[in-house]
């Protein structure tokens, strides 16, 4: 049941990306290219996508968190850490360079995979390798800090 739900949620999420135009890397780049505000051709659509998504999620989460637990699960799994560390700056900085380079972030990458283009397959394979590398590095650091008797 929960697997079917996640499949349907994935489709809804993907439809949102397709409808919003954010599945098109060029549209994303045309937002990120702020120089085009002066020279013409800037596409501010992404701001409205974010506004729509954040607005609905903000309202939706407020309704949901009145309940003690999710409908199909035993607890809400929220990120444990709320402290600002150096990873919360370096990770997004690296992510942004990649995003600005091709205009593709993880959600649209998988949606675009549905177009069957070999170039997107190349991107997704590289992305998964990058993810695996970051996970390995994070695990190694975690073990290292445990060995030194530090928490975190």
């Amino acid at each position: 049941m929960i697997v079917l739900v996640q499949f349907i949620v994935g489709i809804v999420f993907g439809l949102g990306l397709l409808l919003s135009g954010m599945s098109n890397p060029q549209k994303v780049l045309n937002f990120l290219d702020l120089a085009a505000i002066r020279s013409g051709g800037w596409d501010p659509s992404l701001i409205l996508v974010m506004a729509g998504a954040v607005g609905v999620t903000f309202a939706g989460f407020r309704l949901i968190f009145r309940r003690q637990r999710p409908l199909l699960g035993d607890r809400f799994q929220l990120p444990p850490s709320q402290t600002l560390d150096w990873r919360i700056a370096t990770g997004p900085a690296i992510f942004g360079i990649g995003w600005g380079l091709a205009g593709i972030c993880p959600g649209p990458a998988f949606v675009d995979l549905g177009y069957g283009s070999p170039a997107i397959i190349l991107f997704v394979v590289a992305m998964m390798i990058g993810m695996a590398a970051a996970r390995m590095l994070a695990n190694r650091q975690h073990r290292g800090s445990m060995a030194m008797g530090q928490s975190n």
Binding site: S23, R87, L101, A126, I129, M131
Partner: protein
């Protein structure tokens, strides 16, 4: 190439993304962060891995759903060549996992939860993305 400013579909598409994020939290109790879900498709696997594959399969199938129902697909134009795509993929994948989230996890769910970490993350990746796009399009 210029893309048209599409205010209405952008807002509606964004709202749909918000509906999906709300559904995932309300039904399964999980954050709709695509990078976190995708990264945990890789081993070591835990009991929730099937759901992650299902979510990502849903993302991939969405284009097919649009094609079957409307008879066409929205445009998809890549500006980056193969080498840039590989570099971009590595950076996006590494950075998203290293920073515990991407545009969906931090940019949508995190900001909607008023998380200070996610607000910082979103400002940082917006800044480096804007700078990179400027370099690629106007300097290189």
């Amino acid at each position: 190439m210029i893309t048209e400013y599409t205010a209405l579909t952008a807002l509606a598409g964004g709202a749909l993304i918000g509906v999906a994020a709300t559904m995932l939290m309300g039904l399964t109790g999980r954050i709709a962060g695509v990078s976190g879900i995708a990264a945990r498709m890789l081993p070591p696997w835990d009991g929730a891995v099937a759901g992650r594959f299902a979510f990502v399969a849903g993302l991939v199938v969405a284009a097919l759903v649009v094609r079957v129902t409307t008879g066409s697909l929205p445009p998809l134009t890549l500006e980056a060549g193969p080498i840039a795509l590989v570099a971009a993929g590595l950076l996006v994948g590494f950075g998203a996992v290293w920073g515990n989230g991407c545009t969906s996890g931090h940019g949508v769910c995190g900001i909607a939860s008023l998380s200070s970490r996610s607000i910082v993350a979103t400002l940082v990746f917006m800044a480096t993305a804007v700078a990179t796009t400027f370099l690629v399009r106007h300097v290189m």
